[in-house]
Subunit: 484 residues, 2 copies
């Protein structure tokens, strides 16, 4: 007999696994935020080959603590202030459990209609929740889909833009000629990667100047660049405007960029991977001014909206173009529902064929929190960040180096009198290194106007005011050590 886990065993071991996760969350502050292992430490704890005979579940669960936990950087730790938040929540985790337990495939409507229709409904809910343009809704010409990440959303947008720019010839013949893509100097690295993957080449990603104070794209520089490229024989294909850049949460002027795109006939993709969640709050919707110009738009509920990775929400204004760009229909996938034209087959909206039932985690999360709960979560992150920025400003050794409208604050130690920027950069690097090595908090860095800058990204659901206070005290203390 193959020893499949019976439903009764699953019940028993499942309760133990749930308890393991609950215990992990309860005790998460006991761990250093940043893993302290050296390269190879985890690998050495794993036997060189799989066991011949099966092992008890209890043993596997016990090994999590010995093998895995020391090698984790704890993203759900309340003092994880690195990168952007990677929120998850109880309802999201339990939806992932149900998703895994059902084990259905959503590649076609027919392969599990609920997987497709609940996803469409949830993406429509999100349009409502963020007050996004109605043309993204499934009852218009547009529609939404879950991608694994904003990187994949950018890639899919690039493909639809290539399809449009070539009247569909691209799909058959491949890339011909020099297609160009535009983003600001602050655009995400996934744009370069998408250009490479799509056969455009990263040399054809054109970086548009920003205002040095706001770090937002200059629309007139964009216009001039597109016009010059076109005059030189290039094929301007897509502009990626960013609402909340990864470096500093700069917000590009989407309305003005949208006008340029409309005038010059170029696809506009809006990447709001992190900052999209802010639009849950009416008072933060100014960040989204102009998104009605977008041909496509994405944000990541898995960043700041309490829905675990992977869950990027991506919309297009014209689903027909997207489907034409990506549809390939072999015999073994033909079915009556597809041929009726009455259903969505989400495999045609993404790179992979197979897909999980990820809509469940949006459903569970939005229902558990409600609109009010989600707003409160966002507001708390923004409030804590503003408090933090005020504290940085009040300490003359430090400077805040970029606007911080949301929950990220970029700051640094100022250069000492008469000191060059290189020395100050080195001191900021050392400050970051010491803070992270302490295990008590975790921050990451960027460069702003070419200067080394610390990023304090708030927004984990477990983060309370006391954690931000403790972080600031650690930063001050460590700075004092460095400044002698």
């Amino acid at each position: 007999m193959t020893s499949h886990m019976t439903p009764e065993q699953f019940r028993e071991h499942g309760h133990a696994a749930v308890d393991w996760v609950a215990d992990y969350w309860e005790r998460i502050e006991a761990h250093p935020v940043l893993s302290q292992v050296a390269p190879g430490d985890v690998a050495r704890a794993v036997p060189p080959r799989p066991p011949v005979a099966g092992e008890p579940f209890e043993q596997v669960l016990a090994d999590l603590a010995s093998v895995v936990t020391p090698g984790l950087t704890h993203w759900q730790h309340p003092s994880h202030f690195g990168y952007f938040p990677a929120n998850t929540s109880g309802p999201s985790v339990l939806a992932d459990l149900v998703c895994a337990g059902l084990g259905v495939q959503g590649m076609l409507w027919a392969t599990s209609p609920a997987c497709t229709e609940l996803e469409t409904a949830m993406l429509d809910w999100l349009v409502d929740l963020l007050d996004l343009p109605k043309r993204f809704r499934s009852d218009s010409a547009g529609g939404g889909v879950i991608q694994d990440s904003a990187s994949s959303a950018t890639l899919v947008a690039t493909l639809a833009a290539l399809h449009r720019a070539t009247d569909g010839a691209w799909g058959r013949q491949g890339v011909r000629g020099r297609h160009t893509i535009y983003t600001s100097t602050q655009g995400h690295s996934s744009i370069e990667k998408a250009a490479r993957i799509a056969g455009i080449g990263d040399a054809n990603v054109r970086l548009v100047d920003v205002d040095p104070a706001t770090l937002a794209m200059r629309p007139e520089a964009l216009r001039r660049m597109i016009e010059a490229d076109r005059a030189a024989g290039a094929l301007p294909t897509m502009v990626v405007a960013t609402v909340g850049t990864t470096s500093t949460t700069a917000i590009d002027p989407v309305a003005a960029i949208g006008e340029v795109c409309r005038d010059l006939g170029v696809w506009l993709h809006v990447d709001a991977a992190y900052a999209g969640s802010a639009a849950v709050c009416p008072e933060l919707r100014w960040t989204h001014a102009g998104v009605e110009h977008a041909d496509s738009y994405c944000f990541d509920p898995h960043k700041w909206l309490l829905t675990g990775f992977d869950c990027d929400a991506f919309w297009v204004a014209d689903r027909g173009e997207l489907i034409q760009a990506l549809s390939v229909l072999p015999e073994y996938l033909r079915n009556a529902a597809t041929e009726s034209g009455a259903v969505i087959d989400y495999r045609d909206w993404q790179v992979p064929l197979g897909r999980r039932f990820r809509a469940l985690k949006l459903w569970f999360t939005m229902r558990w929190y409600g609109v009010e709960g989600l707003r409160e979560h966002i507001r708390r992150g923004v409030d804590l960040a503003q408090q933090f920025a005020a504290r940085v400003r009040a300490d003359e050794r430090f400077e805040v180096v970029a606007p911080h409208p949301l929950s990220l604050v970029c700051f640094r130690l100022r250069p000492l009198a008469g000191e060059g920027e290189a020395a100050a950069d080195a001191r900021n690097e050392e400050l970051l290194r010491r803070l992270n090595a302490s295990g008590r908090l975790y921050l990451t860095h960027t460069r702003v106007n070419d200067r080394h800058t610390l990023r304090m990204a708030i927004g984990a659901p477990a983060t309370e005011e006391r954690h931000v206070t403790a972080a600031w005290e650690a930063i001050q203390r460590t700075a004092a050590e460095l400044l002698g």
Copy 2:
């Protein structure tokens, strides 16, 4: 206060969610295999917008039964014989729960070293388990990584092949010239899709003839096609050989194809998405003869190896080429571990940036079953399929239309005396329609030598001999109705 789910609430609701899944598995046979809903039925059961206030978890869980379950096609049902199996298992589901609960990001080694190192170790375990070439191991020049699907593995292989074919110029400049990709007429649709995504164009996917009896690629036809294309100015870039095609599980002669690729300097990718799992059993490793020639190889533990979607295992013989093809390093991702060169950053091995801790489900599953348990599972699927094929052969109304070395049997009703093929096709289509409409079993179809053919794909963990017997009896009974 934002109403985050506390660890204590998570414990309580988590136990309920585990019980829900256990109950679902216990009662799965009560459901029709193929969902009986009509387009729009599920959507109509969902309110038009998210609730303003949060709702109790109990309500959400209760709505699974009313809103979701009727709209599922039950892939874990023991009488799901469609497509290929999409195995999951108790240990895999619980690993997904732990993965979701930890909520860590594995994009870089530094962002959770255990996520990377356990993945590398598990891919090395799989090399051992399947007896794959040693050069795929992480202690050689190669290495393995989890992709979401074989589609993404094929895309990533295409990108590495483009990188190699152009000495890296592709990454900067984009696709220039007519790159061509080769697979058999039986190759998977994801190859065409990858060619489109990569900017090669699906017209440049060249379909090589197969032997009409085995449906396996003819290596000499491949050689002639590549030589002719090259003479005509094309840039032959990659061959995709298939071990176990989606249509019929045909097995391409990889050793002979490998010689062609070596002689002509073309990247060889081996797609063993479904059949790779067979190599767990020594007596089935003949299917993998010649994979030592592969530059890249993939199979899907999420198909037939008891590890839930998404989990495609992908290896390259030279990880350096892959990393060069896909690496983009912005300032905000720089870190000391990456710069030391001592670690793997898996973001450079895939399309997206972010990644989940999917190695946990390979770890849990291989440890729960052990090598012996996994072999027994594969053998049982193969045995049941061979029994089924013998029954089809013993009934003169039917014919088996392709080799069936693994757990898929392709069969059809023969044409009646004096009847054309079109009439027989229509009868087979109607046979399939009636079987699936019954809800008692689910099969899908293909075309073999242009004739409508039913596919009986065995291999779900819950499938026992009685389910296969019941399926065959339903097929016979329905055929009798149709034949009058």
